[in-house]
Structures are given as C-alpha cells and as structure tokens.
Subunit: 333 residues, 2 copies
C-alpha cells in the first residue's frame, strides 16, 4: 500500500496471532439451528464475548504491549483512554506483562466496566464525556507521568491484534467446511472491522466485511458510502456505549475504505431485540454495542438466504440492569 501513514499488513496480523497464542482465548465459532432457520441461511457466530476481559479488545492491547516488550521496551506505565472495553483489555495485558496501567474513562461508563478495570489493577482517571477532551487529558497525563499510550483503534499494532479475529474466522470456517460470504462486525472507531478486513483479504479474499453501527453513530457507514471520512452529527444518543466514537480513525478508515464493503446502521430497538435473541436462543450474554451485527442480521439489513454469514459478537460487559431491561426481565428505564 502506498499511503503515507503506517498501515499494518497481513504479515502483522500473523505476527500478532503468534504473540497472542497462550494469552488470548481462541474463541469458538458457533452455529445455532434456530438462527439459521430464521434467516434462511447459515450464520456462523464468533463470540468475542468469551474473550479474556469479555471483549475483543484484549487482542489489540495484548499485541501492542507484547510487541513493546519484545522490542526491549519496558514502559513504566501503559496509558489508555477508553469507554470501558479497551480499558479492560489494556489493564489485563499490562498486568500480564507486569506493567502498571492508567486509564482515562468517562464517568458515565457502565459500572461493570469500571469495576472490572479496577479489579485488573489499573488506576482510573475519570472525565466528563460532555465537556472534557479525553485526548487532551491523556496527553497531559502522559507528559506528567511518562509511559506509553495504547490508542483504542488508530494504531497499527492494535489493528493487527484485532485482525486475529479474522484469521480465526477463516480457519474455523474452513474446519466446518464453510466458505463465508459476508462478515458483519460491530464498529466504533473501526479497528475490529479494519483488522478483520485486513486478515480476510489474505485468508479469505472472497469474503466481504461490513461494519455495523448504531443509528446516529454511523460515521463509518457514511464515510464508506461517500469515500470521505465524515464525523457524526452532534446530539445523537445510543445505549451502545462501546460504539460512540465521533469519527473514523485515520488508519482504520484508510484500511476500511480499501478493504471493507458497505456498512449498516441499526436502531437501539433492533439492538435490544438482538440482545434478547442472544439471551433466549443463543444463550449468550451480549452488551448493546456487541449485539449490533446480530441486530443487522435479525432486522434483515442483509439478505442471508442461501448464504454463509459470520456475525461477530464483540463484547459482553453489560450492567445487569441494562441487560435485564433488554431481555425483558425488567421494565424499561
């Protein structure tokens, strides 16, 4: 590739898989007869909900930190800003490497994400999502305390780590004798989509990769449609706390605009229905942001008939009250 920015390659994804072997979970590829019957096709489910820390984010953070250590660097502290899943991934990967972690988190992050991050030994600095600039706060801390920043998506090593999900999808589909036509991926900043698209451009070139976003936060969908990186309009809301990134990343959009297919957007009501379906039929816990790709399939955003579709469930760190409202155990808030 000839871009002026340092994009990760297929070889970087393979190297990430080597670094993550033994620490990241090789999540299974699941299939459910009721889901197949419902959509009239074959749906393969990649539950990154079962990943260490309950989301795919451990892969990117783990690869980044393992690569730093391999290079002989041993930063005093790993810094990150995150709404919660990247926080846990960084905290877990830092702890495994024997490093301390300092995380900048919004004060309205789900309690389970805050508690889990703290339980992993990280120090947390809170900010107000409505008025503070988390990148500025992080830059200040970096200057003050030193250490190395692990960005949530706009980092080639993070993208390569997330791409190991795509390698596994290709390998596990093959083991099942399946050729995947489309992969649907929950998309915030676009790191997971970019990583999977990169991995599959080598391992399964026939497979199209599609980002799925909440309505109002479908910056990647609109950017792919227009070929120009567009931000979200202010004022939108969604309960998909993991997918509220304001605009595509520079690296992730550079990759996605070359490698990804069209994006889809789903409503919070469609996501709620997907969480309930995952509870009732798949028997999997999925957080709002983790359920949008399943929501797209269930809501018919893509024609699944006589096709093989892979759906990534990207995270499961839902507070019980949010989860239970979605699955029907509690009245709406």
């Amino acid at each position: 590739m000839t871009a002026m920015i340092d994009l990760p390659t297929i070889e970087d994804v393979a190297a990430a898989a080597g670094r993550l072997a033994g620490s990241a979970v090789r999540t299974p590829l699941l299939e459910n007869a009721d889901l197949n019957a419902r959509v009239g096709g074959r749906v393969l489910i990649k539950p990154e909900t079962l990943q260490r820390t309950g989301s795919f984010k451990f892969r990117g953070a783990g690869n980044k930190i393992a690569k730093l250590m391999q290079a002989g660097q041993r930063p005093q502290t790993i810094l990150a800003y995150s709404s919660g899943n990247h926080a846990q991934g960084v905290a877990a990967a830092a702890r495994l490497a024997g490093l301390s972690a300092l995380i900048v988190m919004p004060d309205d992050a789900p309690a389970i994400k805050i508690e889990n991050t703290r339980a992993l030994g990280a120090e947390i600095v809170f900010y107000d999502r409505r008025i503070d600039d988390r990148e500025a706060i992080t830059a200040g801390l970096l200057k003050e305390r030193g250490g190395t920043l692990v960005r949530p998506y706009d980092d080639p090593d993070v993208i390569a780590g997330q791409g190991t999900v795509g390698l596994e999808i290709a390998e596990q589909a093959l083991e099942r004798g399946a050729l995947v036509d489309h992969v649907l991926v929950p998309c915030g900043g676009g790191g997971l989509t970019a990583g999977i698209a990169l991995a599959l451009s080598g391992a399964s070139p026939r497979t199209r990769v599609h980002p799925v976003e909440p309505e109002g936060f479908d910056d990647t969908r609109r950017s792919l449609a227009t070929g120009k990186a567009l931000g979200n309009e202010p004022g939108a809301t969604s309960f998909c706390d993991a997918l509220l990134a304001p605009r595509p990343g520079a690296l992730t959009f550079a990759l996605n605009s070359r490698l990804a297919g069209e994006g889809f957007a789903v409503t919070d009501a469609e996501t709620t229905a997907a969480m309930a379906f995952a509870f009732r039929t798949l028997k999997l816990v999925v957080e709002p942001g983790g359920a949008v790709a399943l929501a797209a399939v269930l809501a018919g955003k893509i024609d699944c008939r006589n096709r093989t579709i892979c759906v990534v469930l990207s995270g499961a760190n839902a507070d019980p009250a949010i989860f239970c409202r979605a699955v029907g155990g509690l009245p709406p808030a």
Copy 2:
C-alpha cells in the same frame, strides 16, 4: 456388567455419537482466566447451554429416536414427560425425524420451556405437580393414542446419548493438552452423570465423575454414599426446576453406583451466585439447574487447587425474571 437390567455400554455411547453427528452441536470446551485464578486450578467448562434446544437433553432424545428410525420403526407419536428440557429435546428430535411429539409437562414449568416446546411443534398435556402422577398420565395417553415413550433418563439409549458429552470432554481436553481429574455434572435423575461416567470409564479412566444436586434433592449423593437407592424427603423446595427428580433411576443408579465418585449438594443461594458469576465473568446464560456444578466449584465443595476440573453447564432455559433476579444479586422469589 452382570446386572439383570439392560445397561448401556461404552460402545453404545460411541454409536450414539455417530447417530448424533450433524444434528447435535459439538459444544466447545471453554476456559476462563478469572475462574482459573479464583479457584487456583484449571477449570474446563462444557457449555451444553449452547446445545440445540439449550440443554444436553437433545442428545439422549436424538439418539433414542434416531435408533428407532434406523431399526425401521416409525412410531406415530413420540411421548415424553418432562419438566421442560427433555420436552424440548424430544420435540426437536421428533421434528427432525418427521414424527409428532406429545409431552406431559407440569403446569408450573418455566414459561420459556413451555413456549419453546410448543414452538418445536409438540402437543403439550399439563398436570399438577403436587397432586397428579405424571407417569400414570403418560401411561394413559400411551394406551389411548399409541406411540413410543422416551423416558427422561431411565433408558439405555437416552443415557448413551447423554454420554456423548463425556466423549467430547475427553477428546477436547486432549486437544488442549489437559488431563481431567474431576468432572462435575448437574444431576436430576442421573442420566447425564451416568452417560458421562460411562463414556469416561473408557475414554479417560483416570477421571472421576461427580453428580451435583440442589440441597433437599440430593438423592443421588445420599444413595452413592450409602450404596442404596434413596428417595428425597418430601417438602423440600428448590428453584432448580430441572433437577427435582424424586429418586435415582434404576439404570442410572446401577451405572452411577459403579462408575461415579461422591456427590455434592449446593444451596439455592450458591446456585444463584454461580448464575451471576456465569453472567458477569463467563458471559454465559445458565438456568438454575444448569449452574449447580459451577456452584459446587465456586463454593469450594471440591478442592480445585493444582487440579484440572471440568464443569458441565447443562442447561440455559431460564425465564428472564428468574435469571435477572439471580444476576442482580437478589434472592429467588
């Protein structure tokens, strides 16, 4: 074996695995770093929650019905009595074979189990758990309508089908380079325990298999301890609706008394904590009766330190309200 009753053999389990290939899900063997750290050992999780119909019961029913069909029998109707998971297993297996199903169910079964059974095309006849005799009702229906009865556990083909869980545990543990010291199995009538113990007596003789029951319904535990089949005292209650069988089956006890290790009993509070742990940390939906083996491990009923323990999660058909009370830390209603 020299018993006067027709006990299944290791070969019967292998034959069941052949019959179920392609219809039953080969559920994955999972592992969770937080769970391992908590118990100081290695815990392998066998989530039959991800099985077709949300519990292991499809295996036994599927094997029984496939064997009938192979033998050239084509009963007009498959009959069963069940608190709900066997009902769904029988309904799904009958439908796959193109047969109708008639199920005798308690009228206080979880709504999700009733709805799922009906959605699988079965006809349901309800009875009152406190006053009616479900075996007598089933016998009457059998006489009136004809058909073939598929018992929930005291049938060699059903036990052989459940035993395929044990075969998979042995194979999947080996793939991970693990030797399993103990398998903990949720136990109602004892069919899953007996099947797994039978399978592992051939495939992994070093492994000890332990039934786990709710307190007050620990008939198998007490029967194994005394060497004599004992029933439960009347008046006990538990929210583990799937595990309320009154006494060990004749076949299951004949097998378990030869092949199983000591049993464990857990309180509903311990099971509630296990359901919450499964939600919060494993990200799996588990129903009360499906969570008792995990509860035994978390409550320290067995010393897991420096050992490899396999925990079977046997079912996930929980009503949202029951589930949400459990994961919210509230006591069962």
